[in-house]
Amino acid sequence: MLTFAIRRVLGMIPTLLLISLVCFVVIQLQPGSFIDQYLEDPRVTRETVQSITRQLGLDQPLWVQYLTWIKGIVTQGDFGYSFVNGRPVSSLIWERLGWTVFLALLTLLVSWAVAIPLGIYTALNRHGVGATVMNFLGYVSLATPDFLVALLLIALVLGTGGTNVGGLFSPEFIDAPWSWARVADLLAHLWIPMIAIGLEGVASLMRQMRASVLDVINQDYVRTARSKGLSGRAVLWRHAVRNAINPLISLAGLSLPALISGTIIASIVLNLPTIGPFLYDSLLNKDQYVAMTLLLFSAVLLLVGNLLADLALAWADPRIRFE
């Protein structure tokens, strides 16, 4: 298994190089340049624009810009610097990573915890009233964009006289040291993003789980287990669910890149300090090294997610081997 993992990791290197080149080309193909916003600003003289272009190395040929960037990453772990912030890209991403990972993992956990039982329930009680209602709600939440849910929740809170209408903390707690009061404040704010971002995930996971369970419960081995006289509960959990969950493990692996780009609009509407809006801004401003690094990072997450999913699948499903 170790050799398998190492082989896979080594295999990622050429893929990532290719992806970095594609990212660079895509950013360059985008019309305009970082300098444009200065050209349009009546306060800035043409001389200043020229000196900024020179300072940023934007007067260099494109291939030089690309090779310098790659060389920095490989030799020094330096991902370039942000034109907008005048700071190394890695430190800027690092600053925003904490809350992003926290929110993403939490929504992932919560949506799994809610969706899996619901999926099993709706599969086993296909024609019951409860399942029909659940399915209907699932369709509605799949169809409603997350930012709209966020706006509706904000309006709801405002309408009832609440003050937690976005962000993760009340103003006085944003830079306060950790305390129970701060945790309570965080929890009071957290439910809105949880629902807004998690709802869509719950709905789609629930549908997936329902489909796989339906698939599995009619299989021979489930019938065999039943005929051996195992209790219904044991059949369900040990045989049906364990097999039905396989496709969801792959799905979980694929959802890692959503860390970066999954919730841009909801993050803007809900004012969450995550990486999504940062990527959006860097693309708008053509802050090229930030955008390229984030896209590359997203690709790495996808590859890592796939690897983890494969490892998890192998653990969950004895039929899968590494040969």
């Binding site: 200043t48 993760l168 004012n271």
Partner: protein, 588 residues
């Protein structure tokens, strides 16, 4: 003895006592009764909003409005505006003299001013800031271009510890107004400067957004105490600040000033309604909703103010339109005057601005007491019959089956109106213009683009009629690139612009009134006498009103909403160096 004399002698005694009491000379902020300013009390936290995280904390290192809003609270310039009259007043410079030929400006600095870390402020800081930062061509938000007149450099030098002198190659009466540049601390920034042995461009790397707050030192009312990326910037009262109120209480009143980072305008309003923001500048479109809530008893006030700053929208016709017949028509003043009669200003003010706008001036805001000339009569009235008659008189009498007038070449009089689609005012305004122009046989096709592209589209010349807005300024000299024919932003007549930056404009193509305006601006730029300048700019406004290089539409009011907990709110448009009434705000 009358009571006013009594008061005056008491005042004299008091100022004598103050002057004798200490070497430090704080500035007394008085005389704003007309703005509703009263003596406040110390304490409290005031929360404002930023549209995004500041990109750095070095005002001259990045061009960033969000940083500007924060920097305005941490730094001061040599001079500043009076909040009511927009006249220039002493700030870090306590007084100044201008030589009779208008070339030498000598600033006497305020004594006893300290930086927020307790170090003394002196002439070295001023000279350092101008030489190494403002005049540094590599500083991204520096202003080196403004320190060359006719290609010759302005010189700055220290006379003694409290005196700084600027020597100009020629007279430039607007120079004083410009010296609102924030002064930076030499003892903190020298290591990033050329004086400190660094490269010229290195000044841009000073004070990045993850700098230790104690490094960011200023003379302003507040100092940085915390910055949480993407969420909040916190400032605390600078106890060394050099202003006091009428009762002698030290300013600012507030203990803490917070800026929450909220990107979405709707989310900003939601946070304001929830009481998490204490003040928010809003648009005319958001006004009715908030005003309704105020009337229903919400704990805030929505305040309208006719401020000098802010952008009045105008329509311009492209004198150099690609279609030669249109170009000739647009260059004809009779056409522009005729079409002004089809601009329904009243309706636009009522429906687009919800009544929150007034009639515009011509290049100068009506609130500008120093320069505004009343040109309301030249705006004319909305009169379609008169417009029809005037267009007939131009020879545009034939019409096609659809009722559109025909040009001399037989084609219909039809052109594009370029406007910003993502604005709360332009789309509605464009529709009103289109429908009224249609009534006089002029067909307008709406062409929407992003508002941020209006200026570049204008300058590209690829348009026929455009709806756009430029800001008003206290002194027309500061808007010379816009209003002087041949200026870099005089884009409705681009063929006048010089072939090279700083070259002479194309005088041969100027209409005679354009030549007059050109000369007026050149004269006013070097005329030291205030009354003579005012007379020159009065002539310019009248020429503008009669010849309509652009047709101004309205002057929007500025609207702010503020929590009732706070007193002394004076509308603050945004980043206007030298205009910062926040130190007067207090918690009731």
């Amino acid at each position: 003895m009358s009571s006013s004399v009594l008061k005056r002698s008491a005042f004299v005694l008091l100022s004598l006592a103050l002057a004798g009491g200490a070497l430090a000379a704080p500035k007394k902020v008085t005389g704003y009764g007309s703005l509703g300013v009263v003596n406040g009390k110390a304490g409290g936290t005031y929360t404002l909003v930023l549209g995004d995280s500041p990109q750095s904390l070095n005002y001259y290192g990045v061009i960033d409005n969000n940083l500007g809003l924060v920097a305005q609270q941490m730094f001061d310039g040599l001079v500043e505006f009076n909040y009511a009259t927009y006249k220039i007043e002493p700030a870090l410079a306590e007084s100044w003299t201008i030589s009779p030929d208008g070339k030498v400006y000598t600033f006497k600095l305020r004594q006893g001013v300290k930086w927020s870390d307790g170090q003394d402020f002196n002439a070295d800081d001023v000279v350092f800031t101008y030489k190494n930062i403002i005049m540094n061509p590599e500083a991204r938000a520096g202003d080196a271009g403004n320190f060359k007149l006719d290609g010759k450099a302005i010189e700055v030098r220290k006379v003694d510890a409290t005196t700084v002198q600027f020597t100009l190659p020629r007279a430039a009466p607007a120079f004083l107004l410009q010296q609102r540049y924030f002064i930076m601390p030499q003892h903190k920034l020298a290591k990033f400067s050329q004086d400190g042995g660094a490269k010229a461009a290195e000044i841009n790397t000073a004070w990045p957004s993850n700098v230790a707050p104690s490094e960011v030192v200023g003379t302003g009312p507040f100092k940085l105490t915390g910055y949480t990326t993407g969420q909040k910037v916190t400032l605390a009262k600078n106890t060394n600040y050099w202003k006091v109120d009428a009762a002698g209480t030290k300013l600012p009143y507030l203990n803490t000033l917070e800026f929450l980072v909220i990107r979405d305008p709707q989310a900003q309003v939601a946070q304001f309604l929830a009481g998490n923001l204490d003040q928010l500048n809003i648009s005319g479109a958001q006004f009715p909703d908030l005003k309704q809530k105020e009337v229903a008893g919400a704990p805030f006030k929505v305040i309208r103010s006719t401020a000098l700053f802010g952008s009045p929208p105008f329509v311009a016709y492209n004198f150099d339109a690609k279609d030669a017949v249109l170009s000739k028509l647009f260059s004809d003043v009779r056409f522009r005057r005729a079409m002004q009669g089809a601009v329904n200003r009243e309706r636009i003010i009522d429906t687009v601005y919800n009544g929150l706008a007034g009639l515009p001036g011509h290049g100068v805001a009506p609130a500008n007491k120093a320069f505004y000339t009343n040109t309301t009569r030249q705006l004319g009235t909305f009169d379609l019959a008169a417009t029809n008659k005037a267009l007939d008189a131009l020879g545009l009498t034939r019409k096609n089956a659809a009722g559109v007038r025909l040009l001399s070449n037989g084609r219909p009089l039809e052109f594009d109106l370029t406007y910003g689609t993502d604005s709360s005012v332009y789309p509605a305004m464009a529709t009103i213009l289109q429908s009224d122009f249609a009534k006089v046989g002029v067909k307008v096709n709406l062409k929407g683009i992003l508002s941020s592209k209006l200026l570049s589209t204008g300058q590209s010349g690829d348009w026929e009629m455009i709806l756009h807005a430029f800001g008003d300024q206290p002194d027309p000299e500061l808007r010379r690139p816009i209003w002087q024919p041949g200026g870099a932003l005089y884009y409705w007549h681009r063929t006048l612009q010089p072939a090279q930056d700083g070259g002479a404009p194309n005088m041969a193509r100027m209409a005679s009134w354009e030549k007059d305006i050109y000369t007026i601006f050149n004269q006013a730029a070097v005329t030291p006498s205030a009354s003579a300048r005012k007379a020159l700019y009065t002539r310019w406004q009248l020429l503008f009103a009669q010849n309509l290089p652009v047709t101004p539409i309205a002057k929007p009011e500025n609207i702010g909403a503020v929590n009732n907990k706070f007193g002394n709110y004076v509308y603050n448009l945004g980043v206007i160096p030298g205009y910062n009434p926040v130190p007067l705000i207090f918690q009731k």
